[in-house]
Symmetry: C2
Subunit: 182 residues, 2 copies
Amino acid sequence: MKKAYILLAEGFEIIEAFAPHDILTRCGVTVKTVAIGEGKSVASSHGVAVTADLPLAETDLGDGDLLILPGGYPGYARLGESKAVGDVLKAYYNGGKLVGVICGAPTVLVKNGLAADRKLTCHSGVRDQMGAYQVTGNIVEKDGNLITGVGAGRALEFGFLLAETLTDAETVKKAKQGMQIL
Amino acid sequence: MKKAYILLAEGFEIIEAFAPHDILTRCGVTVKTVAIGEGKSVASSHGVAVTADLPLAETDLGDGDLLILPGGYPGYARLGESKAVGDVLKAYYNGGKLVGVICGAPTVLVKNGLAADRKLTCHSGVRDQMGAYQVTGNIVEKDGNLITGVGAGRALEFGFLLAETLTDAETVKKAKQGMQIL
């Protein structure tokens, strides 16, 4: 069974974290949320308190197949400031594991000097923080082991692309039927 | 400022609860989550632990403008079994306040004998529990003060329709831009 980790920093965007969580779970992927700060309780950008499955300090997430970084402010900024997040992101990206980054979180790639040669998308509000990166502005982008999404209103498309990459089209089709899209 | 309450029962669908939460908050609506059981911690249908803002036992939700019932199993079944939920639902619906119900939660209307004369939609999996109700199967329906949605994959559309009804088209347009849909 495939395994995905979602990193939660105080101020994360709840749809961007939990639309992928929901879709991947429906597709049979084991999904664990990981709090990057003290303790396991993390508040979303709109103040929703979620209890993560585990704190980043207690694991290296080495057994995962997919790492997801949601956006939301100041969540994505906090992900970018964390050395521990940078370390796990580098391990996944450089190890050829699937990495999913959405909204403001592509700036975390910049902060860690990753994926400058990849085509990607991000929220229009952080585009000026992306420097010379190849930002398309599309809804989602997939380039090698990197999948990016533009923002909260496209978190479902982002989640479906992650799920299709990690599982298969037939599995995702069934999830879409259960979610009443098909 | 308008105020919305979202009822959370153990086993609720997280996208159906928090896509509307996110959209309404972006539109300037005060949104509070309400746990219908013991305490304030409620697990979603996929085991995500959320701490609600308040327990239903401690308030009558009388100051709200909108009541939302998310689906998710067994969340919607628990909403249907709760007399306290039935009481607040009747107070909102019969009082002409806006009511939003999605996925399996339209069965809660049936259990409380409400809205049999309204056009509505629901998840295909609960259609046989809707008896002689006028189920269209559309993505969303609005009939008077009742807005219904078909399921998790359409929770954004459901949230936008609720927000447009409670605020205005210009406000929703700005939220959509922030969420990178427009």
